[in-house]
Subunit: 328 residues, 2 copies
């Protein structure tokens, strides 16, 4: 199951860093572009990402392609996405698809089957996009989450459900105070979350929901395949969320380009030094822009990844949340 | 702009019905399947949908392909999706993509550009998936909605933002009572919504947000390109939402197979007889299953579409919400 696999890979690499593969044509080195068709763009994305994967596969455990940047170019774009997923797998990396998919019932099932599980053909079932984990939006309620959770359990895959996102306006809905049931209140009180007037935030309510699913799919290493998205930009919220969802792995966006600092995001980790994976996209993949050599973009990405690893490991060590079996 | 175009098309057809194109291999007539590759499945989906489009294009204004069922089959699936969008356009139909896309900032921009607007290539910008309207999930706040609204305005396209969805568990989050600001309270009070203890539901709060965007993009016919998803299964909620978002067109799922009745969904319409489009998927496209002739699936779909049109037009007439310029 993926939570165990992810933790093993994190131990192998001795860091919980994720490189976000978010290609945009304006920033991809010009020498990779051979023409102006969608196929040419997709081909440039393929070369760009393959080279970055090659440059970090021995030091980074996980990549996170954001599918929006690929499906934007239609069929050729999705083909590049799939090739990049397969290439990362061939290099032993774990692949999180950032797709924020959501729907209900048979439609949620279709997303779960297509992205994580297997799809029906006339002669039987086989995998399709076959990523390891997928980000999911829970606005529609449990009708939208149960099909994903079932597929995760059956195929050893995982999801990260949006709880508290890293963007400035995430609070417009997510930070609002909302009436809760006595059952929810007692869960929060037992987690040590202060409650006033029988209310909590929307993100805490979503966390309670995530935790219910998480508890039903826990691996040998004590973590669940049902995780949560919790932004690096909101450290105090992360501290509460860590308590509400003790078994969930957090996917932490917002580090680097979005302003989240390593000292802030340690709140996303448990005391054992696990429980979160930290993503950086632009600061890694476009690191070459700060050099004078676009031909060596992959080397620049590797150097940026090394700097991130050092920063995150340092912050974990300083906070006392450093895994016991990692080297100093 | 799409709200005007959609209303003109609705007038031309004298009904606001949407046929949902949600193909699943288990239900597509067997004679369309030529093999078991993903290409074969995609080809069956293409033939199935083309035939249904042919059979209803002179009576139905709008189709709504659900992209989950296509992208499930990866690259061949997305190719079929794109071909179906283009084919529906060639027959003069309006195309709503049900994709429930959502993200923030440049990523939301990538979705908006790829699905609704234009994408950058080396020599310039051109359309990619090029649907007319897209469903969008607003959990992430205005960082996730503004890029879509901007693209809609620039390219004359539209979105339907999830407000109150049709599924049984939609209330788990959407019906919760949430604290609101004095400004929000005064908006709701002036809309005639009863407020107690400075709280409203999450769906009403989302509706206030939708309305803000809607007011900034209103066409000649008085409706906005920024619409809302409001389930046919929740008539009393629809009545309130109609007041909060007077200029938004509602995409109404849940009619037919999900149990929503025509007399319930008239609450989604304004007094002028406009303001909503009503979707039915399974009851139309799989109507042949109630006959003994899978070869005539398209004819069965046409008959089911005619029955739906009659039902919806009848309910509008009975409720007094019948457009003044429609025939009896």
């Amino acid at each position: 199951m993926i939570a165990d696999k992810m933790l093993d890979k994190i131990d192998e690499m001795q860091n919980p860093c994720v490189v976000g593969l978010d290609p945009v044509i304006e920033k991809v080195p010009k020498h990779l572009l051979k023409g102006d068709s969608f196929e040419d763009v997709a081909d440039a994305f393929r070369k760009f990402n393959f080279a970055i994967i090659d440059s970090v596969a021995d030091i980074i455990p996980i990549v996170k392609p954001q599918i929006a940047f690929y499906e934007k170019y239609g069929v050729p774009g999705l083909k590049a996405f799939k090739d990049i997923v397969d290439y990362a797998h061939s290099k032993g990396m774990i692949v999180i698809e950032d797709g924020k998919r959501n729907d209900i019932a048979t439609t949620a099932q279709a997303y779960a089957d297509g992205h994580l599980g297997v799809v029906q053909t006339e002669l039987g079932k086989r995998p399709s996009l076959n990523v390891d984990l997928l980000t999911v939006n829970g606005y529609l309620g449990s009708d939208g989450l149960t099909p994903f959770a079932s597929v995760c359990k059956e195929f050893g895959k995982g999801v990260f459900i949006l709880v508290k996102t890293s963007n400035p306006s995430s609070g417009e809905l997510q930070d609002r105070l909302i009436d809760i049931t006595p059952e929810e209140e007692s869960k929060l009180v037992s987690d040590g979350i202060p409650i006033k007037d029988h209310k909590t935030t929307v993100y805490n309510l979503m966390a309670i929901q995530v935790n219910k699913y998480a508890e039903q799919d826990i691996g040998k290493r004590g973590y669940s395949s049902i995780g949560a998205v919790v932004g690096a930009t909101y450290p105090s919220q992360a501290e509460e969320l860590r308590k509400i969802m003790p078994k969930s792995i957090f996917l932490v966006p917002g580090y680097g380009a979005q302003g989240g600092k390593s000292k802030d995001l340690v709140n996303c980790f448990n005391k054992d030094g696990y429980g979160a994976v930290v993503n950086s996209s632009r600061e890694i993949i476009y690191a070459y822009q700060k050099t004078d050599d676009p031909l060596k973009f992959a080397e620049a990405s590797r150097a940026a990844a090394q700097a991130m690893i050092k920063d995150i490991r340092g912050a974990l060590k300083e906070s006392g949340k450093y895994p016991a079996n990692w080297k100093d």
